[in-house]
Symmetry: C2
Subunit: 232 residues, 2 copies
């Protein structure tokens, strides 16, 4: 699966969030990091469209400015998502691809609800992107919301890193089993680049995760049998 991350941040160089995310995706396979910059205009529209066609998952990544992406991304939408391209052929060029949103907030996520300072939920605010996905026949992924990155603890940032990497590369929506399988896969990849002593320790972690998963699968099978017995 190929993922295209379209990053729109007018003050990209000064954004610690974007720097963090960029480091987070470095080394991931099949991820293309595409930063928009006003100096790229006029865009080579055909090249932008080819990049979309090549991707299975498209991510719009931006800080939320006035309840929407910065103008940079809107300009890209207006220029690249032409009718002729988006609705080409029977199903359109983007059909069956996934559209994800990674957005960072300047105010607390909990304020985005009825009665909160912002009064509207992110589901409501992001409607234009949901509508694009719907119209283009794309699957809209549950957005990854980055809640005031600057105030996050190291532990929260570490969790964000994993969530972000999963958002870019793991099946979505992500089940518990898939989450574990993804984690094992990443650890195995990482393992090969480590010194021998750490490789052994990682092997222990991987074995433990796999054993846990098998144990959970057993429990699930037992519950299934009990239910069948009750119904039968």
């Amino acid at each position: 699966m190929k993922t295209l991350v379209i990053v729109a941040h007018p003050e990209y160089a000064d954004s610690s969030t974007q720097a963090f995310l960029k480091r987070g995706q470095a080394g991931l396979e099949n991820v293309t990091w595409k930063r928009l910059d006003s100096s790229q205009w006029p865009l080579t529209v055909a090249a932008e469209q080819q990049a979309l066609i090549a991707a299975d998952r498209v991510i719009f990544q931006f800080p939320l400015y006035w309840y929407s992406a910065p103008a940079l991304l809107k300009q890209w939408e207006d220029d690249v998502l032409t009718r002729a391209f988006t609705f080409a052929g029977e199903r359109g060029c983007l059909a069956a691809k996934q559209l994800g949103i990674v957005t960072s907030l300047g105010s607390a996520e909990q304020e985005f609800q009825a009665g909160g300072t912002e009064d509207f939920s992110l589901s409501e605010i992001l409607t234009p992107y949901r509508a694009i996905a719907h119209r283009a026949g794309m699957q809209f992924l549950k957005p990854l919301v980055i809640d005031q990155f600057g105030y996050q603890s190291e532990a929260e940032q570490a969790e964000l890193l994993i969530k972000y990497q999963q958002y870019l590369t793991a099946p979505q929506p992500l089940s518990f089993e898939q989450r574990v399988a993804w984690l094992i896969q990443q650890l195995k990849r990482w393992q090969t680049t480590q010194p021998a002593e750490r490789q052994q320790r990682l092997a222990l972690v991987i074995n433990q995760l796999s054993a846990n998963q098998e144990h959970l699968d057993d429990l699930k099978d037992q519950i299934k049998l009990i239910r069948q017995a009750e119904e039968g």
Copy 2:
């Protein structure tokens, strides 16, 4: 009451809708028509902010591109609505002003609902603007939606013209009485510029409208009396 219309259309010169609306507002008192154009950047932010401060009603006017205004308006928002400006002082610089939306659609308005081709309502799609109004302490006006202008009959366009002029200059939300009062006022203004014979005919129309309104007021008073008698 002063109204500032901020027009964002990347192909303004070719837009028959915008040309129609521009003619529609010509001659209205206390209306400022402000067209955004990419050549105006970098904006003189202080001047843009002064224009907002001078207005009682601010209208964002644009064709709906991918469920939002063209990038031009978003760039204006991102540049002009700085935190320092919008949240200045106790209540902010825009508090108690009105925010209206005039948006023209490329697909039929009836498709903007659950199950329609667009699947989302315009209330849902325009959430980012509702959220701006909420956050800035502005009153959000019911949007004026222009449903596929090119397919409208002359009669529909004439109706649109009146609705547009009312959206710019009449109290909002507009009651039936206010609608009649606004119409009488416009006819009286128009009357003074007409030849004598037409002035007389217009006087007849104005008298009839006024008489109708008085008749309606009488009916309302009678209903009120009947209700009071029933309750008493």
